[in-house]
């Protein structure tokens, strides 16, 4: 069966956009084909630095004929409506059929769409999907036209069953010729089908498949490392990126001068990775970084790569000279001496200098150390030094090394181990890594983040739906993770500049975090928080989790149903009576055994739930609640709340209010979703 080959050839596509573009192209094509009733057997999309390629096999030579039934207006509808329908369908009134329906006779148009040539349909739909392809960032280049592509489009190959599918887009006409590698190939390449296309391009030094390129790079880097007695320090992100920067990846190995090998590995690797996109290699035994790097070029050089390697070494030398210069200079001063320099750095116009900020963090770190089981002296010392590296040359050059560099300099100054670790970890937790095991790190990280959040809230700089320029949400998530992952018990309400607004912000962030991790559902966090106003996040989560477990049991589900029924009745009756019922039950007005049983169970539960909660015995509190299920079910089964005797009715409403009050000791059950 016929196949489609489509290649969209343009100037260099940013590496980070290639994979997404291939996926989108495939998705849009699948959608467009199914909209036009064109089935196919297989589809594959590829992306590289200069081209997107799509191969579809098993397409029919023409569309199937489609019979469509369109329902029109009623036969007695106004003439305008009927004319409109005729215009829409392109039929005459005689061609319509009439169908009877419960609402009267209606016109039906039967439209026969004969199948068209697939090639014709493709010529129509390809420009449509090209216009829809959602590049993260695109540009105009055709004079007087608003058409956009990621970079100027320079060629289109579109063949169906080996023949050109004729159309044009952005002034480029489709055809069956393309170009090979920018430097390793010359002249046009004529292609008819995917098979010969892929092979012809390979001959012209182009690998269209990013997975194939990545696999070759990985194997070649590993081999090159092995040949030097080394191993690759794998970096998946870098591998994906460099696979998008070469149509014909060729790996070369270069050397790093020994004078740079005293510079911390973090600096070397970051410099090599971000600026130069080199892979670092290491000694397989010591795991120490080696004085070699692997560069992925896009070139089989005529001199075997001599110039390329020399050039890359030279660039790296200049980069690392800068880094080494800063590293050497920075260590000429003690970190301590830099703390004073922070007075000259504005943190925020309304919030003073970095020095003032450090003063606040240091004080707070001292105050909360005990809650974290951390040494007060270490915590204060680490907080004192934590931001000093902002004035160093290395951090000026590589801001992403903040903290980490502070740790190196602290080590160099013989600060205590805990202080060194805490300085380097205080921007954490980062990524998927768990919060630190070092309590001192967590104290400083917590204090730093709390200061950011509370200070910005105090000047009204809160994150909004569209923006969070000071990364306050991330800071809040950091605190939530530190506290929950390590189980710290620290009520936020006791912290400086605490406000209810900050607390609700935290609860919102907690719900978002829980939505992602799926530990406790967001409505239970709401339910637990709304009446208790608990600001100890660990406690809040323990209560939420106990409630969640309880609600999974039969007792829990039934009790929740009973609660909802009680709450609904109360809502209606309270509105009717214009009063609120409390638990002031008149014991002499409990005629039925079900009344008595519920009252007794409630008295017991109310007396027991409070103390259990206070002891943080949440399972116990849930057991007390569970004991209510029987009496609640029995009550609803055998008595009528709205009794004819007004006094009895009032008393039963008080009973239900008692149930509501008892459960509200634990959580606001009305906020729990089913």
């Amino acid at each position: 069966m016929p196949e489609l080959l489509l290649e969209l050839f343009c100037e260099e596509i940013p590496a980070r956009m290639q994979a997404g573009a291939a996926r989108d192209l495939e998705r849009l094509m699948v959608g467009a084909l199914s909209d036009r009733a064109l089935m196919f057997e297989g589809i594959k999309a590829f992306a590289g630095p200069r081209r997107l390629t799509l191969s579809i096999v098993g397409l029919p030579a023409e569309q199937k004929a489609v019979r469509e039934e369109l329902k029109g207006p009623k036969t007695d509808a106004p003439a305008a409506a009927i004319d409109g329908f005729l215009k829409k369908t392109g039929l005459t009134r005689e061609q319509l059929t009439v169908q009877s329906s419960p609402k009267g006779d209606v016109y039906i148009a039967l439209i026969e769409k004969p199948g068209r040539d697939t090639a014709t349909v493709l010529a129509e739909l390809i420009p449509e999907i090209m216009a829809k392809l959602p590049w993260p960032k695109s540009m105009r280049w055709v004079p007087g036209e608003s058409v956009r592509w990621v970079r100027p489009l320079r060629g289109i190959v579109a063949t169906f069953d080996g023949e050109v599918v004729p159309f044009s887009y952005a002034g480029v006409a489709s055809g069956r010729t393309t170009l090979g590698h920018r430097f390793l190939s010359s002249g046009e390449i004529e292609v008819r089908r995917f098979e010969d296309y892929e092979a012809a391009l390979k001959k012209s030094h182009v690998l269209i498949d990013s997975e194939e390129r990545a696999a070759i790079i990985l194997a070649d880097v590993k081999n090159a490392a092995f040949a030097q007695g080394l191993e690759l320090i794998l970096d998946e992100g870098l591998l994906a990126e460099v696979s998008g920067l070469a149509e014909w990846p060729v790996v070369y190995v270069g050397s790093i001068e020994d004078q740079f090998m005293d510079v911390p590995e973090d600096i070397l690797r970051l410099s090599m990775r971000t600026h130069q996109k080199y892979f670092a290699l290491r000694d397989p035994k010591t795991k120490k970084m080696a004085n070699k790097f692997a560069v992925v070029s896009n070139m089989v050089a005529q001199d075997g790569g001599r110039e390329i390697v020399a050039g890359n070494e030279r660039v790296l030398r200049a980069r690392l000279s800068d880094a080494k210069f800063f590293w050497d200079e920075d260590r000429k001063r003690k970190l301590e001496s830099r703390v004073d320099d922070l007075k000259g750095i504005i943190f925020h116009a309304k919030l003073g200098t970095q020095a003032e900020r450090v003063g606040r963090i240091e004080k707070l770190a001292g105050e909360i150390s005990n809650s974290f089981g951390a040494d007060v002296k270490d915590a204060k010392r680490a907080a004192h030094l934590a931001k000093a590296d902002l004035t160093t040359g290395v951090v000026g050059e590589f801001p992403e090394l903040q903290g980490l560099m502070g740790g190196y300099y602290a080590l160099n100054d013989d600060e205590p181990d805990n202080v060194v670790i805490a300085i380097s970890e205080h921007y954490g937790p980062i990524g998927r890594a768990k919060a630190s095991e070092n309590p001192v790190s967590n104290v400083v990280a917590f204090a730093d983040k709390w200061d950011t959040i509370s200070q910005f809230f105090s000047i009204g700089e809160k994150p909004t739906g569209s923006g969070d320029p000071y990364a306050i949400r991330r800071a809040a998530l950091g605190i939530i993770r530190i506290v929950l992952e390590r189980g710290y018990r620290i009520p936020l309400s006791g912290l400086p500049n605490f406000s209810q607004e900050i607390l609700s912000f935290f609860v919102d962030r907690l719900k978002v975090a829980m939505k992602e991790s799926g530990q406790v559902s967001h409505d239970l966090i709401d339910a637990t928080f709304s009446l208790s106003g608990e600001s100890d996040l660990t406690l809040l989560m323990m209560r939420g989790a106990a409630l969640q477990d309880f609600l999974k049991t039969d007792d829990g589900k039934n009790l929740l149903a009973g609660y909802k029924r009680a709450a609904n009745i109360l809502k209606v009756e309270e509105k009717k009576d214009n009063r609120t019922y409390t638990s002031g039950v008149d014991e002499s007005q409990l005629p039925e055994s079900a009344d008595k049983a519920l009252h007794a169970a409630l008295s017991k539960a109310i007396a027991a739930i409070g103390p259990a909660l206070e002891k943080e015995d949440f399972a116990g509190a849930m057991r007390e609640m569970a004991a209510l299920r029987g009496p609640v079910d029995g009550f609803f089964e055998s008595v009528k709340v709205n009794a004819d005797d007004p006094r009895l009715r009032e008393n039963r409403l008080h009973l239900l209010a008692g149930l509501r009050a008892a459960l509200h000791r634990v959580a606001d059950f009305s906020r729990i979703e089913n």
């Binding site: 920018r182 390329i308 050039g311």
Partner: protein, 299 residues
Amino acid sequence: MRKAKTFQDLILTMQNYWAAQGCLILQPYDNELGAGTFHPATTLRALGPRPWNAAYVQPSRRPTDGRYGENPNRLQHYYQYQVILKPAPANVLDLYLGSIREIGLDPALHDIRFVEDDWESPTLGAAGLGWEVWCDGMEITQFTYFQQVGGIECDPVCAEITYGLERLAMYVQNVEFVYDLAFNDQFRYGEVFYQNEVEFSTYNFERADTEMLFQHFKDAEKQCQALLDGDRKLPLPAYDQCIKASHAFNLLQARGVISVTERAAYIGRVRALAQACCQAWLASPQGAYTPRYSDKGHG
């Protein structure tokens, strides 16, 4: 293929190459500019429908990049080679690669790559998409398709090619310290510019009179606005004042007297001037000229 042996050789090669591609070979603008893009031949000519192909060397002043002559490749005064092609021809990248061959970098021996790098100038209200061009891992050119200048959409879109001449020369000459470059067969770059870098670094960071500069900024801003006010707008002289304000701001930055929050406000003020100049330019004849007597002077 012959390597451009000296710095001036490199410039001459560029001039000849781009002249052969039909570019006007213009001269540097006689005002302090932060980059070749600020030359009215780029900023203003990038706008409007008229075709425009020009190339020129532009001395560029970056006061904060001064290193007192100590850094191997950072300079507060350096040269850019700027090419502006409007509309961008379809073979513009091949034309560019031709220039690289011309100065002696053989793509068969080197690894030339186009790495995503979108350019933006907040002071000019300008932005475009493009790449930094890498040669063996070293950035040798910035290539941009302008999308917007002075807040105005460019149509047709032009291509801007900016070469850092010292950096390129260092690569071609295989030199690691910029001052060691051969300027010609007799003089080193350092003989021409080392003292300049030392003195201007001192001036930029220590001695420039900040009160005077604040006043210059205000005066230039006021004059620029006045020239764009009313019916007889003068976009070209007004743009001169915009450039002067921008340079005063750059010097104030180097003197460290502008705080982070103020910085954004100053950039906004320069951008407002640039945008007003660009709008006035578009409303003007934009360099249109009809020969007064005959066509004798041409061809």
